[in-house]
């Protein structure tokens, strides 16, 4: 650890091992075929729709599967962006274009229940709730855009007192012109609710801008209102800083608190007025503030959708510790999964603003189209092969293969195992167990693995035996 000498030795060994293996690699006969020129997109939020539209605009068919009864996802509940763009107008236009596009088939109230295959040649089943109709679709690429959801708060009287709302609920009431929030004297917003603590470590990235936006909106509607934002760190990154400054100039009060000393909210009667009393210790001045509020809005953050686990099993793609989908490499392959031909975008990946979601959706669409437009796809190179002279047709490989990619067939010399290359995924379990050691693996053969051990053990690249 932090030890250059041994790190260097390790690097040299790893290199030596790679060279040893590379020396034994043989030519492989790749499987070439024409990809299915269609894309399956799971999730019909902004991410799913934007990627569907970009893929379709490039001339490929799209099946867009949305489990709810309408398209749009979380964005349906967001009125404007912090820069004042009208999200609903954008969404309506996007939904309209998607619904009318001749190459996009939208499946509402639907879910994918089965998926198999590999890059260029996937087959999935889509089930529609209600009528139970099942459609089978072939597709060359897959995009996962199942989004995320608003967290449900467990504290600050949420669910017990109707004056305590989440930010999205506040936004809904502001839009409806509900006097319960627009006409009041004092509003308090509490940031980082249920976030950035031991239980849920992540920052949801969008809530600070959400609060700024709501604060500015309330200020505009009611210049007399006292507005407080209780925060731990204000993440108004980039040009959002201007809005933060604007809010401060317009009299929104920002009070910093510490995780160890969180605000407390109680419902009390004060001079005949029923209020939510918020006690908060301003950490820099170590001063306790008492605010009597009429409405308290909680920045609850974004959590991974409950479906993610199921979707991750279905498509065999991994989740991170917080239940979001995990990309193949955070820097080098940001919209890819390790499995070729499957991509991700939007908040299914991690919480992000609409602008980031849109950019990422276009990136995923670009990656998918790069597969769909190929004349020929090459895959399935690292498969098993049988040495027919050693094979006695015992059938153990057939028993163990999880993909039914190996079967015992009768030939003139007797029973022999036969690998169906197109189905073989190269796990090597057959090779590990063959009693006659008659099954070899391209790129992961006994010699190719053992030579690496010899290389690290002896410091030399030589035959393993």
């Amino acid at each position: 650890m932090r030890d250059r000498e041994s790190a260097n030795r390790k690097a040299r060994d790893l290199l030596r091992m790679a060279v040893a293996k590379a020396r034994l690699l043989g030519p492989v006969a790749p499987l070439t075929f024409e990809p299915k020129r269609s894309c399956l997109i799971v999730g019909g939020g902004v991410a799913g729709m934007v990627s569907a539209l970009s893929v379709a605009e490039m001339g490929f068919e799209v099946n867009l599967v949305e489990k709810a009864g309408e398209l749009g996802g979380t964005a349906r509940r967001i009125l404007n962006t912090l820069n004042g763009q009208d999200v609903q107008a954008y969404l309506d236009a996007l939904t309209g274009t998607v619904r009318e596009h001749p190459l996009i088939r939208v499946h509402l109230d639907a879910e994918v229940i089965e998926s198999r295959g590999y890059v260029g040649d996937f087959t999935s089943k889509i089930a529609v709730r209600g009528d139970g109709k099942i459609t089978e679709v072939g597709h060359g690429a897959t995009i996962i855009a199942t989004g995320a959801v608003e967290a449900k708060p467990q504290e600050y009287l949420y669910g017990q007192d109707s004056r305590v709302l989440t930010l999205l609920e506040l936004e809904r009431d502001v839009a409806a012109g509900n006097t319960r929030v627009c006409g009041v004297q004092t509003a308090v917003m509490i940031q980082c609710v249920g976030s950035r603590d031991d239980e849920r470590r992540l920052c949801s990235r969008v809530c600070c801008s959400q609060s700024l936006r709501s604060a500015l909106k309330l200020r505009e509607l009611n210049p007399q209102m006292d507005i407080y934002v209780l925060y731990r760190d204000m993440m108004s990154y980039g040009l959002m800083e201007d809005r933060y400054r604007e809010a401060a100039e317009k009299g929104v009060k920002f009070i910093r608190y510490e995780l160890a000393d969180k605000p407390r909210v109680t419902a009390v009667e004060e001079e005949g007025r029923s209020v939510l009393r918020v006690m908060v210790r301003e950490s820099a001045l170590d001063r306790l503030h008492m605010i009597d509020a009429d409405v308290v809005a909680l920045a609850v953050g974004v959590v991974a959708g409950q479906d993610n686990r199921e979707v991750s099993r279905l498509f065999k793609v991994p989740l991170d510790e917080d239940g979001f989908f995990l990309e193949a490499h955070m820097k080098l392959r940001p919209v890819d999964f390790a499995t070729d031909g499957i991509f991700l975008c939007g908040t299914a990946h991690y919480p992000k603003h609409l602008s980031d979601t849109i950019a990422q959706a276009q990136a995923a669409a670009g990656k998918a189209a790069a597969i769909l437009c190929k004349k020929k796809i090459e895959t399935g190179v690292e498969v098993a092969f049988v040495n027919a002279e050693e094979c006695i047709g015992c059938g153990i490989c057939e028993l163990l293969c999880p993909f039914k990619a190996i079967e015992v067939v009768s030939i003139d010399q007797g029973d022999r195992a036969h690998v169906i290359s197109a189905s073989c995924k190269g796990c090597g379990v057959c090779s590990s167990h063959c009693p006659r050691r008659a099954i070899g693996m391209h790129s992961f053969g006994d010699d190719q693995i053992l030579t690496q051990i010899t290389a690290m053990a002896t410091g030399k690249v030589e035959q393993y035996a």
């Binding site: 989740l319 028993l399 796990c427 379990v429 050691r437 693995i449 051990i453």
Partner: protein, 263 residues
């Protein structure tokens, strides 16, 4: 197993492509710190790591073998990690027969998201092997004896019988054998114990007889095993046509290795 200076253990870690290798990558990208003793060999699935590879690694003088796969239920190949578990069960027993502490072989699960867990497992394993000491630090005579048994274990791991039983474990535990008898884990473990010990002993006998003919008593003495057990094994080898009688010395029959052509 060559003799080696120093106390830094040399460890190999087999990582499956889909989960643990990505987890290791994440540990790297996140700049987590863990001991540099480990060298990673990537395989597509932990189910590719057969007992043969593990015993070979020890013969080459490595001090520990770590096998990391996807969490149960998460295997990209559905059941490959369960096969890894079955194989490790057999490999542990091979190591017991050889006289190598089976804590030098660890199978564990790391998902693609668990960079921290990867670093923790590697750190813990490295420290564990450090306390066990390096294998090559033993007395040269012990090293020679362990090597002799390791070679027998390697032959056993390559042999049809052991591979067949290891491969059939899942079937025996779920569907049963050809008579429909389903085995409990305990019964399977006992069966493995017996077969591994028999196979390693048989291979040691063959290795000894390769050099010169010997009696059961002589073989038992040099293998430090009870003569009745050796006799049973010898007779079994004779039935299979792998050894034959070469004569009688005093009152003891002498056995020699018969080199059989493969059919």
């Amino acid at each position: 197993m060559p003799e080696r200076e120093g106390s830094e253990p040399s460890l190999v870690c087999f990582c499956c492509h889909w989960c643990s290798y990505s987890g290791a990558d994440l540990a790297g990208v996140s700049r987590m710190q863990y001991p540099a003793n480990i060298r990673i060999v990537r395989v597509m699935c932990s189910g590719r790591v057969e007992p043969y590879f593990v015993v070979q690694a020890f013969l080459h003088g490595l001090d520990g073998v770590l096998i990391l796969g996807c969490h149960p239920g998460d295997c990209h190949y559905l059941t490959g990690n369960y096969e890894a578990r079955n194989m490790v069960a057999a490999t542990r027993r091979l190591l017991d027969c050889v006289g190598i502490d089976n804590r030098r072989l660890v199978l564990d699960w790391v998902s693609a998201a668990e960079g921290t867990r990867f670093a923790e497992i590697v750190t813990k394993f490295t420290n564990e092997v450090k306390t066990l000491g390096t294998l090559g630090a033993a007395k040269p005579t012990d090293v020679a004896a362990v090597n002799f048994r390791l070679k027998a274990a390697i032959a056993a791991a390559q042999g049809e019988k052991l591979r067949w039983v290891v491969a059939k474990q899942t079937e025996f535990a779920t569907k049963g054998n050809r008579y429909g008898e389903v085995f409990s884990r305990h019964e399977l473990d006992r069966m493995l114990d017996g077969i591994v010990a028999d196979e390693v002993m048989a291979q040691q006998i063959l290795a000894l007889l390769n050099e010169e003919p010997a009696s059961v008593k002589e073989v038992a003495a040099s293998l430090k095993l009870p003569p009745p057990q050796v006799l049973r094994s010898m007779l079994a080898l004779r039935r299979k046509g792998l050894v034959t009688l070469s004569g009688v010395q005093g009152s003891s029959p002498m056995y020699k290795r018969r080199n059989v052509e493969r059919f």
